[in-house]
């Protein structure tokens, strides 16, 4: 009798006693936990532990060199009543998210719809449109962007062909944030790929039925394509919004780490970074992080709640 069949017969008897119980429990559950061991160490050591610690730190003044001093609600009170940079950074980030996410998704969906009509050369177009998404997070691209939108940059050289004298886009507070929004839209490739996959999974017979009934293309789009695609739209919107809230590198590079001019590119993450690592106000920065977490959580919960009313699910 092999060990395997012994344990199998023990299992058949049900509720074994004493050592068999423990050995059976070990045999059944230990491998799972052993395989998860690295993740568990990371989960508790690098995620749960730090989350709790940062909640605590958000109620303290902490400069990294001396022990944290309890501050009660001071950080939060200051944030909401007496911090113009907080307000500015919140406004910049919201503006960025509200304009960049819908525009990016609109481009992604538009191009995906065009490509989905059985265009020849689809793989080539798809790859070309995807390339900026893949490269876009790099510091090199942020540097390139700074040159493109500089006073003597590519954009203004182009405008000069038509006799237009463009402003220095990145050093003008009216336009600087828009250059970052354009950078974000430029990277519409990955949501586009997700839209393409979604479009392809719409059952073809629905379209056939519609064309038999003589429905116009416009009607087909509004009555079939878009409703069937809402889960993908929803997914893309959530992912891109969270990414938008977390965006850091382009604003840091383009503004030289300051959020200039006049705080017009002071992203929330940039403000948090400066509070923590330039001014060593770690307690205040922790409070900022918790407010960010609250915003992301509320936004996500709100989206899931409203999704009931506009996202189409099969079942």
């Amino acid at each position: 009798m092999t060990a395997q069949s012994i344990s199998a017969s023990a299992r058949n008897k049900g509720g074994a006693v004493g050592s068999t119980f423990w050995s059976r429990a070990w045999e059944n559950h230990a491998p799972g936990y052993l395989f998860l061991l690295p993740w568990f160490i990371g989960f508790f050591g690098l995620t749960i532990g730090p989350i709790i610690t940062s909640l605590y730190l958000s109620f303290t003044h902490f400069d990294l060199l001396t022990a944290p001093r309890w501050a009660g609600l001071d950080n939060y009170i200051r944030m909401f009543t007496n911090d113009r940079n907080f307000v500015a950074s919140m406004r910049v980030t919201m503006f960025f998210v509200i304009f960049s996410v819908p525009l990016k998704l609109a481009f992604a969906l538009g191009v995906a719809l065009l490509l989905n009509r059985g265009m020849r050369g689809l793989p080539l177009y798809r790859a070309l449109f995807y390339l900026p998404s893949l490269l876009g997070a790099s510091v090199a691209i942020a540097i390139l962007w700074r040159q493109i939108f500089a006073g003597d940059g590519l954009v203004n050289q182009f405008l000069a062909l038509f006799g237009i004298v463009g402003p220095s886009w990145i050093s003008n507070p009216n336009y600087s944030l828009w250059t970052l929004i354009v950078l974000s839209i430029w990277q519409f490739g990955s949501p586009m790929i997700i839209f393409l996959a979604g479009l392809r999974s719409i059952p073809q017979d629905m379209y056939e039925a519609a064309s038999l009934e003589g429905a116009s293309k416009w009607r087909v789009f509004w009555k079939i394509t878009l409703p069937m695609l809402t889960p993908v739209v929803f997914f893309n919107a959530i992912i891109q919004t969270i990414e938008g809230f977390k965006s850091f590198t382009p604003a840091f590079i383009i503004s030289g780490g300051t959020g200039s001019p006049i705080n017009s590119t002071l992203f929330y993450t940039l403000y948090l970074y400066n509070e923590a690592f330039s001014f060593f106000r770690m307690g205040y920065a922790s409070a900022l992080a918790w407010v960010l977490l609250a915003i992301v959580a509320v936004f996500t919960a709100f989206s899931f709640f409203t999704s009931k009313f506009w996202v189409h699910y099969d079942d």
């Binding site: 690098l46 730090p50 191009v111 893949l134 790099s138 510091v139 040159q147 050289q157 920065a285 992301v296």
Partner: protein, 298 residues
């Protein structure tokens, strides 16, 4: 009889006009797409062209992306040695961090994913839900305590804070990616192996991993690219010039040379994109499939 013929000609005319309309649409659509492709890629081409121009021509060449008559490679050695520490060091630092991150991420995430996808144990659903929750978590929330932890461990100004978390499967996204793939592998295979007396480790090592090369490759490539591109982590943890990654080197270049050496800056920017571009050239199908099936953010 005549009416039949008439109807026939009407039908063919209708057909022909439809075909013509489709033709016209197709041409217009291609023109639109080609225009959009050029517009999208133009900045990249301009960057490439500028890196081959002599310094004084970069901003006098207008919007041209044609190489100038005086094809000029000087920017590359000038940029390479533009800082006190050469870019060779930055590149080797970036490669070391990225490659170790790939190894750690693939190993740790595949172990965890195997447990979630295939092993029965108490609390599996709970831990899986916890893992999914961490996907949504903004990294800023754990940032400062992690920094304090690594500072106390004496790891600041080493590569460890950038590498060790990868060995602890800190990037839960890849666990999710692999769980999805593992679930698609027929269960009969591991059941048969179990009948033959194979334990979980053998099933993981001899069955799961060999059958999962596409997802492992996808995870490896994305880990490499994201680590290579990472700016925030190195910015916080590395402050010695000789430890810098390529991204930090580029940023320092923009600061220290002020606004003077654009050629060198552009040349190094081009080089920093080369590894990513190489992955794009050789593995774009894998990358695109990875995004299409899991909805990756980039």
């Amino acid at each position: 009889m005549t009416t039949d013929v008439q109807r026939l000609t009407v039908v063919t005319e209708d057909d022909a006009s439809r075909r013509l309309r489709r033709r016209v649409f197709s041409v217009v659509a291609h023109l639109l797409l080609i225009g959009a492709s050029i517009l999208m890629l133009y900045p990249l081409l301009w960057l490439l062209a500028s890196s081959f121009r002599p310094e004084n021509e970069i901003f006098t060449s207008g919007i041209s992306v044609m190489p100038s008559a005086s094809w000029d490679l000087d920017s590359y050695p000038r940029g390479w040695n533009g800082l006190q520490v050469g870019f060779g060091t930055f590149f080797s630092n970036s490669f070391i961090i990225s490659i170790l991150s790939v190894i750690g991420n693939v190993a740790a995430c595949s172990l965890a994913a195997f447990a979630f996808a295939r092993l029965e144990f108490r609390g599996r659903k709970f831990w899986f839900a916890m893992m999914l929750m961490t996907l949504m978590l903004p990294y800023q929330v754990t940032l400062i305590p992690q920094y304090v932890l690594f500072l106390n461990l004496g790891w600041v100004n080493t590569f460890l804070p950038l590498i060790v978390p990868k060995f602890l499967a800190a990037d839960a996204f890849f666990i999710f990616l692999m769980v999805q793939f593992f679930r698609g592998i027929p269960k009969e295979l591991d059941e048969a192996a179990r009948m033959d007396g194979a334990g979980p480790w053998r099933i993981y090592w001899k069955i799961m991993l060999p059958l999962s090369t596409p997802v492992l490759a996808t995870a490896a490539i994305f880990t490499f690219i994201w680590t290579w591109d990472d700016f925030f982590g190195p910015l916080i943890y590395l402050s010695e010039l000789r430890d810098y990654t390529v991204m930090l080197g580029l940023r320092t270049f923009t600061d220290s040379t002020g606004q003077s050496d654009y050629g060198g800056l552009f040349a190094m920017s081009v080089l920093s994109l080369v590894p990513i571009f190489v992955f794009f050239l050789f593995f774009q199908r894998l990358l695109i499939e990875g995004i299409a099936t899991t909805g990756m953010k980039r």
